[in-house]
Symmetry: C2
Subunit: 473 residues, 2 copies
């Protein structure tokens, strides 16, 4: 196997990373102990504590650190290399973006060990956030630390931006970008590339660069009915039960062919070109293995295969249902309200604001017998599709090949990182998505974990990438 | 106003009840403090405690008490008058049926004062079970106490049967009736009448005798999907989301005209005769006031009015929805399961076992993309329709007119009391439903209450009824 030599500038940091890998894991464990669940107000003090931890760590790396709370949301940590740390004449800047917030740990009884009691088993670190995204954030910070600890000047300027609202829609980011864009770049946007490690490898042995993401629209829809819970015998059949009506309306959202029924919903969805079909076919994706891995079978929109459904077709999911009696046994009640969490993943060319409006209009078009909707928009994010043949991507490809010993796959992802589109639209900055997760990492579910060998591969790759970007001149 | 004189035999007990009303309320408060929630295993010790309280009270009244736990369920308390308490030559027997178990207090934050901290406000006693059914059970026991305290022999034999599973489907009753029917009657079934106080007055000033009830079929249906919670971006669209599929199936259960779509569901529903139409019309029921009282408007099966929908038409209600993320904010998860509590109220001539089978078949007829149903049957109860011109009913009517000063309305009720059909089918015993609740008592919901004047009216009525039954000879 011939792999390109690692760029010289990264030699000492790479050697240092190899020799000090255990200490890096210990630092990650420290951060993982903080239950920084951003979507639940009960965890607010922990979210603040995680932000402070990250800010403190960046300061220890010699970076100039600023913390912002635009709109009073969760803190954004911005850390920038002072010129003294950067090689003279360096022209490029890496803007590393990640998030220190995590998904809720529910359901709690699904965890083998506590979600916030990080534990290593069989070479894997188990904790909420291990893979998404604290583990992947720390890879980059560890790369910086390796340059620092070996007194190696950084081959490029670096800005680190770690936010605390990624898991709840990055609500404050637009305001931040409007007010504080200057913090994120110096000189031309074309000299800056955003680097994100919040995606997956193609498989455990094959690195990947992701060049497209779906956007997201997320609603909490609550249907209010009678002024109090009612006896379903006395009242059953005589007035609108909000749980029944909610189900009746949601039941119409997707037809038996898996199509979303909202009028005009597919208007902006691009047809799948032959080129895309070929590209996907070359990946040799095993859709049965993919779904069997989570105890399921391929199922979805008729006329499309699994990769198409995940990457270039919209999806609608009910993420939660609640209302009425949810305990053990029976309670014969007509509840005063019932609700659902409903989200849409939208591929390139769809507009999240338009989808939100279409869904709102559709929901309100039904006769629900006098019940009243309360719709709460929990965030809209644009889809992303970046060029897959840029010089940035070539540099990242070289870095990955040098550390992983294998050319990266060029892939898409069905998930969403809200900020990427904002970086492009508002700052003109392109993004490289270089992630080290795997779908089997259980992100967003119990027993989330991150294999330590992938964590260390990520640390090395970021060290190499800084050198490759610096070498672009 | 001319009302019939109270039967002489009840004169002393009635006077005693009037003089000792506060002490009766104190005793009821004692019982209401026990959170005997039968459907939730967590409350099992409290259920047992309530059973013991009732048994102890019956023993203090001089009754012979037996406690049975058929099938290991919640205790059934059976108490019988020894001959020494009964007037010589008395031929009739009143079998009083009630329940000491209560509905769950959820949602807890809807209560002004604690569900199990009974509180009197404005002449109303607030607590879970105040009206359904502890308050109404105690009316009968207080009537017995008044006979006892005044050394008045009872004009008829009495058996008291207070169960602890009414709110969870009276699961153990069939086994009890099979094994212990002899405890409930002596001699001919035609000499015995069952009396139940678990229904409503027509309005706050008009007593009622209820002669028909709907039956009940109650399921917890749970749809299992992927083996773990999944990230809805990575997996969304590519496999069956159980929350989405559950809503899709439930959404088909009732069409836009309010008809239940299960094939054959209406086959056994009797058409509404002109006689029934006339009977309902004479009640002068205000459907708008009825629904406006709970912040709603009339809504339901097309082609029927509110009384018809409540009393002689089946109804299907979703009593609860659960699954996925139910907390604050957003979590982009495809849940591993989602579920619903689904119940049917069925009028006379429908068969609960048949409905359960039809529903089960219907649920399983849908393509849910490889998800797996777990159906739990939480109880089936037959509907009831008894004769509305029997001598028993005439006796009850006289008792009510004497205590309430007004002829009772003859009505139906949409709710269910599982045991009534069993008494008729297995023991040949007819039932008198004489209740003192009101729909505004908030039974099954927060701030359940019972007006003390109705409680005292119930005590007096039962005292009078015993005399009327005795006088039937």
């Amino acid at each position: 196997m011939t792999t390109p030599p690692t760029h010289n500038a990264a030699a000492a940091p790479l050697a240092h990373l190899a020799e000090n890998s255990d200490a890096a894991v210990t630092r990650l464990i420290d951060l993982l102990k903080i239950p920084s669940v951003s979507t639940d107000p009960a965890f607010k003090p922990d979210v603040d504590r995680a932000a402070a931890w990250v800010a403190d760590y960046c300061a220890k790396l010699g970076l100039s650190v600023e913390t912002r709370t635009p709109n009073g949301g969760h803190p954004l940590v911005i850390a920038t290399t002072p010129d003294a740390l950067v090689a003279p004449g360096a022209a490029r800047r890496v803007l590393f973006y990640g998030h220190y917030d995590v998904q809720p740990p529910d359901p709690l009884d699904g965890w083998t060990t506590g979600a916030f009691e990080p534990t290593v088993r069989d070479g894997k670190l188990y904790a909420r956030g291990a893979s998404d995204d604290k583990g992947q954030v720390m890879m980059f910070l560890e790369a910086l630390k390796a340059y620092r600890d070996t007194n190696t000047l950084l081959p490029c300027h670096v800005t680190v931006m770690i936010e605390g609202e990624e898991e709840c829609g990055s609500i404050s980011l637009p305001a931040f970008l409007e007010q504080d864009a200057a913090l994120l770049k110096t000189g031309s946007a074309h000299d800056t590339v955003c680097v994100v490690s919040d995606t997956c490898m193609w498989d455990a042995n094959t690195p990947a660069i992701t060049y497209a993401l779906r956007g997201l629209v997320y609603f909490d829809i609550k249907l209010h009915g009678p002024s109090r819970d009612l006896h379903s015998g006395v009242y059953g059949g005589s007035l609108a039960n909000p749980a029944t009506q909610l189900a009746r309306v949601l039941g119409k959202l997707i037809d038996d062919d898996g199509h979303i029924t909202i009028p005009g919903f597919y208007d902006d969805v691009a047809p799948i070109t032959d080129a895309v079909r070929d590209e996907f076919a070359q990946l040799d994706f095993d859709e049965n293995a993919f779904t069997a891995d989570v105890g399921a079978t391929p199922f979805g929109e008729k006329g499309f295969d699994t990769l198409q459904r995940r990457w270039v077709r919209p999806a609608c999911d009910i993420n939660g249902l609640y209302g009425g009696y949810m305990g053990q046994g029976a309670k014969t009640v007509i509840p005063t309200f019932a609700g659902a969490k409903v989200s849409f993943r939208i591929p390139a060319d769809m507009n999240p604001g338009k989808v939100a409006q279409q869904f709102t209009d559709w929901i309100q078009s039904h006769n629900v017998g006098g019940c009243r909707w309360e719709l709460e928009n929990h965030g809209e994010a644009w889809p992303v599709a970046v060029s897959n043949d840029s010089p940035w991507l070539a540099a990242a490809s070289r870095a990955l090949e040098s550390t992983a010993g294998k050319k990266p796959a060029l892939v898409r992802d069905g998930a969403t990182i809200p900020v990427i589109a904002d970086f492009k639209n508002q700052l003109g900055i392109d993004t490289l998505l270089i992630g080290f997760g795997l779908n089997s990492d259980n992100i967003h579910s119990p027993d989330e974990h991150f294999a330590l060998d992938r964590f260390h591969l990520g640390c090395r790759t970021h060290a190499a990438l800084l050198a490759e970007v610096g070498a672009m001149g």
